[in-house]
């Protein structure tokens, strides 16, 4: 990862945690840290695609919601151009709303079924004053649709149920393109669309990076998708960032046992190379309460040591820019400053 010290990150997540209160029978309270002291930075110059990978329940979506300002962090802070998201004043808030755009998982859930899909585009043009006349509005709308590989005739005037999931999802991309944001936060954008059209969506995100200089945070559970997108990657495990670094570097030398397990579990698209090892994951032991004083993966880890139960592992540097939070690598230098 090329880290330019001069450029400031657009979004700076600093040691952020989100703790939820779980209802339990009786008076005792249980807490769960959905996101546990995660740090990450998103830059717009140069544009990059950062992947956030983890299983369900690892806090990916909670982190995304915090970055979009939809829910405040419990601890730590998330800065947008140097200001906490919660403290943004009117103009700065609109600037944030314009420059940080979400794409959600369910392409059908985000549209009102009673309205035509292009209303999403019309409202955007209206709310952000993007066009001065009706003709211009139609013009920029068509342009945005063409940029995401859609023919305006196929989409304009249609209702959500008349479009495929892939088309709906790309209309959302067209909407974000109208605004020319700095950052797109895409939460599992391809998990609900078909394999065949998945590539079109991913390619559009790549085009956004290369042609329009738009950075993305790509949240996914699929390491192969993340690899296709390239760029830096963060592996989340039960709310903690256990490994981070450039994706090629990281997948070349996966250092955290969790990442290794994740890699092994991916079915390979080659019937001559099937799984040789048995999965050793006990599905039953899902750590609910997460204590700060030990490694989150210790219950499932094949290399668990005493120290893992006593202390939270700090980040150790495997290579330049490649960090892992695992005591197996305690001979490596420890990272002092937080940040990706």
């Amino acid at each position: 990862m090329t880290e330019l010290k001069e450029t400031k990150p657009v979004i700076d997540v600093r040691n952020t945690s989100k703790v939820f209160n779980i209802p339990t029978p009786g008076f005792e309270r249980e807490y769960i840290a959905a996101v546990d002291q995660v740090s990450l930075k998103l830059y717009d110059k140069p544009a990059q695609i950062v992947s956030l990978v983890g299983e369900s329940g690892s806090g990916k979506t909670t982190l995304a919601r915090m970055m979009l300002g939809l829910t405040p962090p419990t601890k730590g802070e998330i800065l947008y151009r140097g200001t906490r998201i919660q403290d943004l004043k009117k103009d700065a808030w609109w600037d944030f709303r314009r420059n940080v755009q979400p794409i959600f998982q369910d392409p059908f859930g985000i549209y009102n079924p009673f309205y035509r899909v292009d209303r999403a585009l019309d409202m955007t043009i209206k709310n952000f004053d993007l066009a001065s006349s009706k003709d211009e509005a139609v013009e920029i709308k068509s342009e945005a649709l063409r940029a995401v590989d859609l023919r305006p005739d196929d989409v304009v005037g249609r209702y959500p149920h008349q479009l495929s999931g892939g088309q709906c999802q790309r209309v959302m991309l067209a909407r974000t393109l109208l605004l020319q944001p700095k950052i797109i936060v895409a939460d599992e954008p391809v998990s609900m669309i078909d394999v065949a059209v998945r590539m079109l969506f991913l390619n559009t995100l790549l085009d956004f990076r290369d042609k329009y200089n738009i950075s993305s945070l790509m949240i996914t559970h699929d390491l192969a998708t993340a690899y296709y997108m390239g760029g830096p990657m963060i592996v989340l495990c039960f709310g903690r960032a256990v490994e981070s670094g450039d994706i090629v570097q990281l997948l070349d030398k996966p250092s955290h046992p969790y990442t290794q397990q994740l890699l092994k579990a991916i079915p390979s698209p080659d019937p001559t190379q099937r799984w040789e090892t048995r999965a050793n994951v006990k599905i039953t032991d899902r750590p609910l309460t997460r204590e700060g004083s030990k490694c989150v993966y210790v219950e499932r880890c094949p290399h668990a040591m005493d120290v893992c139960r006593q202390q939270r592992p700090p980040d150790f540097m495997i290579d330049e820019g490649h960090y892992t939070a695992c005591f197996l690598h305690r001979d490596k230098p420890e990272r002092s400053a937080v940040g990706l």
């Binding site: 059209v197 590539m199 579990a265 991916i266 079915p267 001559t272 799984w275 599905i283």
Partner: protein, 357 residues
Amino acid sequence: MMNAQVMTRKQRQTTDDSERLLDISGLKIWYRTTRGNAQAVDGVDLLIKRNEIFGLAGESGCGKTTLARGILGMTKLPGFVESGEAVYYTRVSDTSFVGSDLLTMPARQIRQMRWQHLSYIPQGAMNVLSPVTRIEKQILDAMFEHSDMSKEEARARMYECLEMVGLEPTVAKMYPHELSGGMKQRVTIAAAISLKPGLIIADEPTTALDVNVQQVILQEMKDIASQMGLTLIYVTHDMAVHAEMADRLGIMYAGLIVEVAPVIETFKEPLHPYTRGLISSIPVIGGDRERMVGIPGNAPSPLDWPSGCRFHPRCPKVMDVCRGTAPPMLEVAPGHLVACHLYPTPISGAAPFAEER
């Protein structure tokens, strides 16, 4: 459709009786809509062999689920079976088998068949469990419904099945909300195998699960299938899962099976352009990061399939003949059937059927 039926007859000749488990021919399942019939499954011919894992792949809306449910006689209005048959062969003695058509069977009889012979693991299986009933009761009720086991027998068998899928006996006393997604999935598998069926149809059973859990479930299903000697029809759009699981793979597009082959063949040498598209759009870890194209265009509507070959509007190798004539399903290599005009000549020995056509 003639060709397709010819093909089935041919398959019948090449496969001896003991291998044959389910013989589907000319199966059409349509849905009545206000704008005409949606021809979701439109002439499927398929032969499922005993003790195999048959993978069924295709994008959403191609009729996979309709086909899977149709075989089990679970087609509900507005869906209806337009024509065709699905003959299931039961073993009556060591050498003789009796076939019966699942689609024309009276409701009473198919109720007897279900669970004892045919089981189904539905899509989103974690949501099929009743939230207000203990796991134990849900499994036992189904067992009593479909067999005349005594209470003790059924209970013993239930614990046996829970153990087979790697669950603790204590799970039986729990409610679904106390279990994780993977555990609920295992419960449905345990229920599906409880009466030792001959055929299980699993419809996207691991789609909503994490990769780690998916691996566990897939490996377990494979073990159980080989231990119990049962046949598994595995429906999913995930080609990588098929590569891991299947013995033979059928590719479905627009209500038709377009390619059937042993899975190794399919991945080594996919013939149909659609299959090629599917395989080439799986992102792979490692190697050069090339821009992949996927399959451009959208899946056609079952209300109005394209003329000729249904894939022609999206096909990169489209020819004039594709627009007008539907390609017949031909055996172009041993065990490798494909319906595409690019491969017009069947292997020798399959010729007589051209005459019949």
